[in-house]
């Protein structure tokens, strides 16, 4: 059959072309440590993504300027995960298979981190993220995954603490249907009910809908006095508008990545008046934070305090570099990963920069890197435990009213 032969010929030609094509070797310097930066440049995380990417670049420059880590220069490869798991997976595959990175850092959305973890785990690479889903800790079997943000569970506990302090009695929850959103509200419910309270209504809503009227009506029917959200900016915008139109009076506790200046801009000061926004706070007052903030402001043109995730990404590179310094230039990613606690957790001399840490490691001292984003004392699951800042939106501005620590 002519067709069959033609087809086989086509396939053979394609196969020959494949093997003849020169493979593009993409790592230049001999022993450089290749870091894949996967950030939400577009999508729901876009208010933070570019800043996160910039912070990684800054940190890589800082480390290389100090002579590299264990003599290895850091090399960065940058991709956009579009805050979508699917795009994240494709970008991660490219970084891992084509760019041959040894660490994949900076994922923001839990969905992206969870989708990418099987890939990094299989390739025995280090993964560092700022995602909240509790599942990330339980799925981290090889201790290769490091979380620089509080888990959603702890966020939920913080929400419960705040709600208790302010005397609310009838909370309801609304959660974006993903691991992060539900992690927030599940964490809240657990702590609230453990203290003897009752959640009057719980709703999980689907992403990317133009309206959440039905879901909101369901919640409002139970007459809550506060709604605790596990949400993102686009859906929070829609829900708040629809709530305002409904005319019911109640309070809101919303995570800081959703209740931020962008929200105020989108919905207006009247509707956002009194909303309680909760976000992890950076290690204010630490010298590492000061140093980072200055450099970030100069490089990015915006304040580091507006983007806690940028500080976290900066810390990712610094702690990674310090761990490489300690583990030596022949170390594999797994071996480097095993040293991260050795450079960030107490006991040890507190250090606030890579150069400082490198010097002390050379003189065989134990160090404890205090990061720009938090003290970075990682627990057994590889989670940092930053504190929370409680902000209230007053007249269109976020005003810090309280700080909460959850153990």
């Amino acid at each position: 059959m002519t067709f069959q032969r033609r087809k086989i010929l086509n396939m053979a030609v394609a196969g020959a072309a494949l093997s003849a094509a020169p493979s593009l070797v993409l790592s230049q310097s001999g022993n450089a440590f290749r870091i894949g930066a996967l950030n939400p440049i577009t999508g729901a995380g876009s208010p933070y993504g570019s800043g996160m990417q910039k912070a990684i670049q800054l940190a890589i420059e800082e480390v290389n300027a100090a002579g590299g880590a264990a003599g290895r220069k850091l090399e960065g490869f940058y991709e956009d995960d579009q805050t979508q798991p699917q795009s994240g997976v494709l970008a991660a595959k490219k970084l891992i298979e084509v760019n041959k990175v040894q660490a994949l850092i900076g994922t923001w959305a839990s969905g992206v981190t969870l989708a990418v973890m099987p890939l990094t785990d299989e390739a025995n690479l280090i993964q560092m993220n700022v995602s909240g889903a509790p599942a990330i800790s339980t799925l981290d079997k090889k201790d290769l995954v490091w979380r620089f943000q509080a888990t959603n569970d702890r966020f939920g506990a913080a929400f419960a603490e705040i709600a208790k302090k302010r005397g609310f009695k009838r909370p309801a929850t609304m959660a974006f249907n993903n691991a992060s959103g539900r992690g927030n509200t599940d964490g809240f419910k657990r702590v609230w009910e453990a203290a003897g309270g009752k959640v009057v209504s719980e709703v999980v809503y689907e992403p990317n809908r133009p309206s959440y009227r039905s879901e909101l009506q369901k919640v409002l029917a139970e007459k809550p006095d506060v709604i605790v959200m596990g949400s993102y900016l686009p859906d929070t915008t829609i829900i708040l508008r629809e709530w305002y139109q409904s005319g019911d009076k109640l309070a809101w506790i919303i995570p800081g990545w959703a209740a931020n200046p962008e929200l105020i801009k989108a919905v207006g000061p009247e509707i956002t008046q009194g909303i309680i926004s909760v976000e992890t706070v950076s290690n204010d007052g630490s010298s590492s934070n000061k140093l980072f903030s200055e450099r970030f402001q100069k490089a990015a043109g915006s304040a580091a305090s507006a983007n806690i995730y940028a500080a976290m990404c900066y810390d990712m590179v610094i702690s990674l570099a310090l761990a490489i310094e300690l583990a030596g230039d022949k170390a594999t990613p797994q071996q480097i990963s095993n040293r991260i606690r050795d450079v960030s957790n107490p006991p040890g001399t507190a250090v606030s920069s890579f150069a400082q840490g490198k010097q002390l490691i050379a003189s065989k001292q134990k160090i404890n890197y205090e990061g720009a984003s938090s003290k970075l004392d990682f627990d057994a699951s590889g989670d940092a435990k930053p504190d929370f800042g409680v902000y209230v939106i007053e007249a269109g501005q976020l005003v810090r009213r309280d700080t909460i620590s959850i153990s």
């Binding site: 069959q4 087809k7 699917q86 249907n177 992403p207």
Partner: protein, 293 residues
């Protein structure tokens, strides 16, 4: 770069299976199926879920095909009673319903969060060789499909299908009931799409409902129209053109700075739409085929 080309080859062959199936339904039999992506989705999720529960892949693949074929039965029955424009709408509604059910029934499918960690085909092999083996397996699958369809075309069954496409009333008048044939064709095309879905799931290892939107159905339609409706060779050529276009647009981004990947997705949508319009206006028979309809 080789790894990248191998990946493209895999995508081409997956779409080729979809196109062969759709061509059987529309090109050979004249059934307007606007819901093809539903069978793709069913095959993908079936194989993924089974393999996540420990079922070996050589079992989950046929299961995927079988489940997709079963799902096609109601559509086949609808095809008996409905005029072509109604069938088009109903099949579209069917695929959207399937997608929504996959999205909602998260106890089964993981819902919007999707199914991460789907075992890769040939997981025991290292990454580089694995993709090559997947490519080889797909080549075998496509060749088998082509052989099967070829012999079908030459058989009495095939002649009957074309007769149904061209003049159904005559077929009925001759005493042959088109009903059973239509259902079988739907099932066969669906089975092929189901296998394509299984290959897809075990290639990307992470599936979500968003990957199974109607746009995929129309990509496949675009392939068979471009290649020429009713022509098997056309279906394959059309698929290659489609994938070159889809992947090529990624490189276009590097040449034309300032376009984000998210925007490129919209550009692709627009170009496919424009291609559909232009094809219908100026060359409905595509490259190798006879006229549409």
């Amino acid at each position: 770069m080789d790894a990248y080309l191998v990946s493209i080859g895999i995508v081409v062959l997956i779409y080729a299976l979809l196109a062969i199936g759709l061509n059987l339904q529309y090109g050979e039999t004249g059934l307007i199926n606007f819901g093809h992506v539903a069978f793709f989705a069913i095959g993908a999720y079936a194989s993924a879920l089974l393999s996540l529960k420990g079922v070996p892949l050589w079992l989950s693949f046929p299961a995927a095909a079988a489940l997709a074929a079963l799902a096609a039965i109601p559509l086949g029955m609808a095809a008996l009673r409905l005029r072509e424009d109604y069938l088009a709408i109903v099949t579209l509604g069917f695929s959207e319903t399937t997608r929504l059910m996959i999205q909602q029934e998260e106890w089964l499918t993981g819902g919007v969060q999707g199914l991460p960690g789907v075992p890769a085909l040939f997981a025991s092999v290292g990454t580089g060789a694995r993709n090559l083996m997947q490519l080889a397996a797909l080549m075998v699958a496509v060749m088998l499909a082509v052989l099967a369809i070829r012999s079908l075309q030459k058989s009495a069954f095939g002649r009957l299908l074309r007769a149904i496409r061209d003049n159904e009333a005559a077929v009925a008048a001759l005493g042959k009931d088109p009903a059973g044939y239509k259902i079988q064709v739907f099932m066969l095309g669906a089975a092929l799409a189901g296998i394509a879905g299984a290959f897809y799931a075990h290639f990307v290892t992470f599936i979500t409902p968003e990957q199974f939107v109607p746009l995929v159905t129309f990509y496949v339609w675009m392939s068979i129209i471009l290649g020429g409706v009713g022509s098997l060779r056309g279906a394959l050529v059309g698929t290659m053109v489609l994938v070159v276009f889809l992947e090529g647009s990624r490189f276009l981004r590097d040449l034309v700075p300032g376009i984000a990947e998210a925007q490129m997705a919209h550009v692709r949508l627009g170009v496919v739409g424009l291609a559909l319009i232009l094809c219908m206006l100026y060359r409905p028979q595509g490259i190798f085929g006879k006229r549409v309809g």
